[in-house]
């Protein structure tokens, strides 16, 4: 349960940072020396990279423009009826060109443990990732911003994943992402469109290992998100993430979310979402709530 303690400590630190930022310099924060526009650093996905909640975007973490750098730290929590996921992580970006990110995930599966009399009740995973902006600008070029990224994932509790047929305890996802903010594109509100192609063989993002008895090869998965900025502080939208189905023992479903993001200033982002993960490892209809808190530096 050290993860839970770390999660609580980091979340409390973030809450302190966020409340300080909110109280002390809400006005000041609009003109701090991170120059990209509000909300254009996105939130932190559960895998650490900048994006929404489950789908990464081509934008890089933080608000650093091409002569600056930026960073973000985040804590996220997902609760469906039978599973809970805690994530902490951080990211750093340099000159709006390169993003390095880190995430530590812990999935708690008490229902599964009870049903199958498993010896453990959680699975942890560590993700280290890099993303490079290769072309375009989110706002100022006609072409979308395009990024290429790789996420190296290491499953730290491979016992249960191996028992259900996963072939490897680590894997690397490769992402090709295009994101565009169309100014005034949706009834004069700014419209965010995003697509990610992911080359992966990860089961449930890697929490259930990589590859399986049914399929061991990496496949191309389509992910997409779209949102509208009601004003520069509020983003509402939805995400879809296609998933592989590598294990004959447990079918894997596609994921989707409907989210609200709040960006009061360039230091804080809060995202709340309704998530639908479909069936997850024998438990049907895993719908529930997602909450993420991000501090940008």
């Amino acid at each position: 349960m050290t993860m839970t303690r770390n999660f609580l400590v980091l979340t409390m630190a973030l809450v302190c940072y966020v409340s300080n930022a909110a109280i002390l310099d809400l006005k000041d924060a609009d003109t701090i020396s991170r120059s990209r526009l509000l909300a254009t650093g996105g939130a932190s996905t559960i895998e650490g990279a900048a994006g929404g909640g489950i789908v990464p975007m081509a934008v890089l973490a933080g608000y650093g423009a091409q002569e600056e750098q930026g960073a973000a730290a985040f804590g996220s929590y997902v609760d469906t009826s039978d599973y809970q996921l805690e994530v902490i992580g951080g990211s750093w970006s340099w000159r709006n060109r390169i993003e390095l990110s880190f995430a530590q995930q812990e999935l708690t599966h008490d229902s599964l443990t009870a049903a199958l009399s498993l010896p453990t009740d959680s699975i942890s995973q560590r993700i280290i990732a890099a993303k490079v902006r290769v072309a375009g600008d989110l706002i100022y070029t006609a072409m979308p911003q395009i990024s290429i990224g790789a996420q190296y994932k290491k499953n730290l509790d491979f016992l249960v994943p191996a028992a259900v047929g996963a072939q490897a305890d680590s894997g690397t996802d490769v992402n090709l992402t295009a994101t565009k903010l169309i100014l005034g594109g949706f009834f004069d509100r700014n419209l965010l469109l995003n697509t990610n192609l992911r080359y992966t063989n990860a089961n449930q993002t890697g929490l259930v290992g990589f590859g399986g008895d049914k399929n061991d090869d990496k496949e191309l998965m389509v992910e997409a998100s779209a949102g509208v900025l009601l004003n520069r502080h509020w983003l509402v939208g939805t995400e879809y993430r296609q998933k592989p189905d590598n294990l004959s023992f447990i079918k894997e479903d596609h994921w989707q979310t409907a989210f609200v993001g709040w960006f009061p200033n360039k230091r804080i982002a809060v995202v709340a979402a309704y998530v639908d993960l479909g069936g997850v490892a024998t438990f049907k209809d895993q719908t529930g709530w997602y909450l993420s808190l991000q501090g940008s530096f």
């Binding site: 003109t31 020396s33 526009l37 100022y140 070029t141 949706f186 004069d188 719908t287």
Partner: protein, 145 residues
Amino acid sequence: MSKKFEKVFISMFLCFFIASCTNQSLQQQSLYDALGQYEGITNITHQLILVIAQDERVKHRYKDANMQRFKKGLSDYICVAVAGPCEYTGDTMQMVHAGHNYTNTEFNAIVDDLILAMEQLGIPVATQNRLLAKLAPTYKDVVYQ
């Protein structure tokens, strides 16, 4: 995933795309009028200058500038960009910015300042976005020239 949610999801997506395609053809007030015509535009450039004067990232760029001339030039430029009944007699954006090597950071800073200025003047979000959409393409003529 549940079928119900799938439907909601797909219809939201379709809604976004269709709306973004048909958006331009909707009848609405001209941007020039929405901004409050030439007087409204001049108010924005005036407010923008006040915001820029407080912005450490870019204020040194205006140290030796003739601000009256800048204000008139920018107001005329915006007026023409939003199809107002004005004449812009200054140099092209490319000419104005050539040789200064304005950075991506500085461009972002000015956009930041413009949004702040419009917010301070209480200009509606929709009108702000419509103006930003007209001005954003100048990026390629301004940055790293």
